[in-house]
Amino acid sequence: MKAFEKRVRIISNRDLKHGRFILSFRDKQIAGAASPGQFLMVKASSGLFPLLRRPFSIHNCSGKNGRIDVLYEVKGPGSRLLSQYPPGRVLEVVGPLGNGFSLPEKGRGVILVAGGMGAAPLFFLASRLAAERSKRRVYALLGACGKNRLCRPAEFSAAGCSVKLSTDDGSCGSAGYVSGLLDSFLNSPGIIPSAYVIYACGPRPMLQATAFVAGKFGVQGYCSLEAHMACGIGACMGCVIPVRSEEGREAYKRVCQDGPVFPLQEPDWGKM
């Protein structure tokens, strides 16, 4: 796992509306090393404010031409500044960082479960799966609080996923949480849960619910977690989450270095 500290030039920084943007740059070394689920530490700051870099998942990445996309939402000062960066501006990035998703065995079906912006890293995974020779079924279950917050359904569809949507307010797709959608999906006739592996990303309660549903059906899966990160490279011990080891012992693991991808059953959800 080799990470690079780079100054790259922004190719484009497109406003997707509803406070979301997609930023692209090219860097062959980062792109060449990146795998789905990994992230970048981006300096979104003018001088000392905000101080720390901000972590953003790799949304898509082409190993061939080195193009990397970051899909992000304006949340606070860092992401707001980022959204104002014009094409051509230099961006300081460190990456790729963290452990990405373990790719599924040949032939195994895939269920992507995204809550809101959780779709960001899952799209890179969807693209990689689409590029595989051996085909497999890939479902993308995308949830959000409302219609406007649903994240890139058309793109997931174009990447070969069967897309299913849910919104908390019922404004699009089935009404309720995406974990509920997963539950009914796994319950649907003709679906053999054990033939699938789940990849989930989103807010912690949504991941906890997903882990619960996966457990219920005995489906293996992974989730990508977020935590406040100061360094992003495993040095500060700041981004830990409580995990339960196989023997049941409590411990902390770093989201940036031991994650951000964890088996769904590893985080100690009750303690988070």
Binding site: L51, L52, R53, A227, C231, I233, C236, M237, G238
Partner: protein, 319 residues
């Protein structure tokens, strides 16, 4: 060639006890992991020394998350000295650390009383790879019992500092660096106690105790409620303390606190430090220490300073 001649006149090395740092730049304990995290970003051999995350006798789980949050030009942390313990450290971390021909300063702390410090120092005294021992008596994230009432840290009490340094001095010939806390009325008296007890150097500052509250959730921003403030925000406090201490003690001072570029590193050397440590700055830019090593050398050349100790003498001020 002309440049090479000039270069060769610039001596960037500094001594701390028997230890020689080739450049006046090290890293602050706890901000550089065990060095492997950074070895991909620059050649570690440019550093004068590597300082490890603080190690305790037993493995330590550390504090409850969230452990970090951002504050204006700074950050709070309440890591709570999570570390694998001296045993695992020596077996799993030291070999990598020792593989770079850079002196390794091992930072140690006790979870209870002085005996743990002594035990740790004894072990390290036998460890060829440890170039020096840093006594972390100033971590705001653990509480000690040996200081007098009203003070939670050894480094808040000159007497307790003296006794500890003295006790460690008795069990090791390795250079001892005492890491001081800024959370004191008079840091000079603590530094003087460390010097008198035989410390080879003092390192300052550790973090300033701080707290931040999220008004919307009405919760402290870090799980442990109170943590340590670091980063550029605290630099004026750190520079002032280095200035005060280095004019009163004669052992070398390692200055740190908010170094984020060459100019801020130079502030410390001008204020009287013999060397500097890059801390939170490592998070802002993984190759920062490398940039600063080059920057200091460049500054020394441009301003005709032949050695690091000339910098403090180059300071201009009235009174």
């Amino acid at each position: 060639m002309g440049e090479d001649v000039v270069m060769s006149r610039i001596r960037t090395e500094v001594r701390i006890g028997r230890m020689v740092l080739r450049t006046p730049v090290t890293v602050a304990s706890g901000t550089f992991g065990y060095a492997s995290e950074f070895s991909g970003f620059f050649d570690l051999r440019v550093l004068g020394a590597v300082t490890t995350k603080t190690v305790t006798l037993r493995p330590r789980k550390g504090n409850v998350p969230p452990r970090t949050c951002e504050t204006p030009a700074g950050m709070l942390n309440s890591v709570g000295l999570e570390n694998p313990g001296i045993e695992v450290f020596l077996k799993e971390k030291m070999p990598f650390l020792a593989g770079h021909k850079v002196p390794v300063i091992v930072s140690i702390a006790s979870e209870s009383d002085n005996r743990e410090f002594i035990e740790l120092a004894r072990r390290l005294d036998h460890c060829r790879e440890a170039a020096a021992i840093e006594l972390n008596i100033s971590c705001p994230n653990i509480r000690h019992t040996t200081a007098r009432p009203g003070t939670a840290l050894i480094a808040q009490d000159a007497g307790a500092t003296y006794r500890l340094v003295r006790a460690v001095r008795a069990v090791t010939k390795k250079p001892i660096i005492t890491k001081l806390s800024p959370n004191v009325t008079d840091i000079v008296s603590i530094a003087a106690a460390a010097e008198e007890a035989g410390s080879d150097a003092v390192a300052l500052i550790n973090t300033i105790t701080g707290m931040s509250i999220d008004a919307s959730s009405r919760k402290p921003r870090i799980g442990a409620v109170i943590g340590g403030l670091s980063g550029p925000a605290i630099r004026p406090v750190a520079v002032r303390m280095v200035w005060e201490v280095s004019r009163k003690v004669s052992i070398p001072v390692i200055g740190m606190g908010g170094i984020c570029d060459t100019d801020s590193a130079l502030e410390f050397l001008l204020a009287g430090a013999s060397a500097v440590a890059v801390g939170t700055g490592n998070f802002l830019k993984p190759s920062l220490a490398d940039e600063i090593v080059k920057g200091i050398r460049e500054y020394m050349r441009a301003n005709r300073f032949g050695s690091v100790s000339m910098l403090r003498k180059g300071m201009k001020y009235a009174r």
